[in-house]
């Protein structure tokens, strides 16, 4: 058996904390950090492992700071 899994990598330093990506995610993967980056912005972080790699968050991010991975992996 195989299943599709996804993952996102967020460039914390370039995130401006606008929160537009949060509502775009069907699996509530994203929330804002408590800490701030060097510009003083709270940045987007992942809060669960449910990402399917749908790309919604990355497409809608005005600053293009999210990279999305998707792959088919074997399940036991």
């Amino acid at each position: 058996m195989a299943k599709i899994i996804g993952d996102i990598a967020i460039n914390n330093e370039r995130c401006k904390g606008c929160e537009v990506c949060i509502a775009a995610c069907p699996f509530t993967v994203i929330a804002m950090s408590k800490e701030v980056n060097s510009k003083g912005y709270h940045f987007a972080i992942k809060v669960n492992g449910e990402c399917t790699g749908c790309t919604n968050c990355a497409i809608v991010c005005p600053d293009g700071v999210i990279t999305v991975y998707r792959a088919k992996v074997a399940t036991v």
Binding site: A9, P62, G64, V68
Partner: protein, 267 residues
């Protein structure tokens, strides 16, 4: 720092399904958090990349927040005087008829100071693409009222809301130019949700394909937030935009294949 929930086993180049295109210069955008200018820029660059026409495309940036588009878009660009982008684009297209030429303009630029250039380039049917970012306000200079400001909408120069009796009606310049015979494709889109972004990208692609066929002027309005000028958070501003801007500036195609689409009437 070890990232929580990272699925390191799939973080390989061959598994990347989305990343910022290299046609965006890798530097921080000057735009406010959550501003749609960045998303609109990126969709435009993704289309150029997919059509493989980046080295055959010349853009014209406006005066307004996106004046610095030439610093962010990794293609040949010229900066026009305020509102004159369609005139400059006309010259470029006539000198380089085999190049793709677009303007990228805000509502203050395109629908106020540049009204004459907009209307005449449209009326001449220049084979250019106009990308029009309508946020209902002069963002760059501090949120002053624009021709596009909604009735009752507050701005720094209409602090009690736009009073139509003394300040006039908002100008739907997109509908206005759609009636000109030189204009071939007109659509109104948005970039605040993934679905809207995908539709905007399709519209930009369509416009540039039509430019290749010399069909005439193609005009894409993108209704976007100016959360700083509207004095809201980005998320609030997108909601406000859906509730207030979209009923007045209805999304969808306005003219396709040179023919006007019948839109449902607004009140």
């Amino acid at each position: 720092m070890e990232e929580q929930f990272a699925k390191t086993e799939i973080r390989k180049p061959e598994n990347i399904v989305y990343k910022k295109t290299d046609l965006m210069v890798d530097r921080p955008l000057s735009y406010c958090p959550g501003c749609g200018h960045g998303t609109a820029h990126r969709m435009l660059m993704e289309v150029l990349e997919e059509m493989d026409i980046a080295d055959k495309t010349i853009g014209v940036s406006p005066v307004g927040c996106s004046v610095l588009a030439y610093d962010f878009l990794n293609i040949d660009m010229l900066g026009a005087a305020h509102g004159r982008a369609p005139a400059l684009a006309t010259a470029i297209k006539r000198l380089w008829p085999n190049h793709f030429v677009f303007t990228y303009q805000g509502d203050g630029d395109l629908a106020a100071i540049g009204t004459a250039e907009t209307i005449h380039a449209c009326n001449r049917g220049e084979n250019i693409t106009i990308i029009f970012i309508n946020n209902g306000i002069y963002g760059m200079t501090g949120g002053q009222m624009a021709p596009t400001t909604l009735p009752g909408m507050r701005s720094s120069t209409s602090p009690y809301g736009r009073d139509v009796a003394t300040m006039g009606h908002p100008l739907k310049i997109t509908e206005l130019i759609s009636h000109l015979p030189g204009v071939y494709y007109v659509t109104r889109q948005a970039v605040h949700t993934p679905n809207h972004v995908r539709k905007t990208k399709k519209a930009i692609r369509k416009a540039l394909e039509l430019q290749k066929e010399n069909k005439g002027l193609c005009f894409i309005e993108i209704v976007s937030n100016c959360n700083s000028g509207w004095k809201m958070t980005p998320v609030q501003s997108n909601k406000w935009m859906e509730e207030n801007m979209f009923p007045f500036y209805q999304l969808g195609d306005i003219k396709v294949d040179g023919k006007l689409i019948e839109l449902p009437k607004t009140s």
